[in-house]
Symmetry: C2
Subunit: 141 residues, 2 copies
DNA sequence: TTGCATGCAAATCGTTTGCAACCCA
DNA sequence: TGGGTTGCAAACGATTTGCATGCAA
């Protein structure tokens, strides 16, 4: 998918959100980011192109995007929020030695898990997503 | 496992940590808690038995316990820390409609995943744990 | 035009820190 | 006794809030 401002504007329009330069910038920051930017990462990126943008505005935009399911919050072990573009199901690999979180796509794994939980029903739960979180350290050699 | 102060003291001693009333209380709060208490939950519990304990002390005790792998931090989607007693590998079920996080034990699932990743090596990664995170909503009927 | 969005600054709140007094081993 | 631990209060830092102004539709 090629990303330009028109594409991003369409994402906003599809949710009946007003298209503003601030929202375009914030959303572009997240889409262009390789790995789960923190609010601080996003602020740094956005300020390069619009130094006058308010921090509060950025947080409000992030909140709006999350509420509209355009982006989502990522679970973390420390206390800063990370965000990612809302995309198809994927898993996470966490390098604990580096506090680095990578996406991991594996259709094969997805179907194994889906089949497993299709058979093994969990009482009173409608499953919406099944994600695997792998923790490890970098192999040195 | 029956838990009394002697058991908890032994956990601390096994890590060569000094046994103090504050540490006993904090650790007891976590062990007795059914589901992943926040620091605030722990503070409330502990203050019932020792109103004079300092908030800073509680955070320092939590930090010490995490560093000694007696407890661990739990990944969350909001910005408060949650803790759990360090125990054998388990998975999490998250009820998004209630912000409720439950433990899920499944040896069968564990071996499926371990076998899968034993075959499918991930480059440059020494896996330490594989956890499944299931998100869903409560089934209404 | 009009209501939603922005910029700004103050406020909030969970967590951390520094240090003197304390107390477990 | 001595070094790790505690209590306290101030500091910190990420995020939120309120409000006047601005701007997209």
């Amino acid at each position: 998918m090629l990303i330009d401002n028109k594409n991003i504007a369409n994402i906003l329009k599809s949710k009946s959100l007003k298209v503003t330069p601030q929202r375009l910038l914030v959303l572009k920051a997240i889409i262009n980011s390789k790995n789960h930017p923190t609010a601080e990462n996003i602020i740094t990126y956005v300020k390069k192109f619009n130094p006058n943008i308010g921090i509060g505005t950025i947080y409000k935009v992030l909140d709006t995007l999350v509420k509209n399911k355009i982006i989502q919050k990522v679970e973390t072990y420390n206390d800063v929020m990370r965000y990612e573009f809302h995309t198809k199901n994927h898993h996470h690999i966490y390098f604990s030695d580096k506090d680095l979180l990578l996406d991991y796509y594996d259709n094969n794994l997805d179907s194994i898990l889906n089949n497993y939980f299709k058979k093994k029903k969990i009482p009173k739960l409608n499953i919406e997503s099944i994600k695997v979180h792998i923790t490890g350290k970098q192999k040195l050699k």
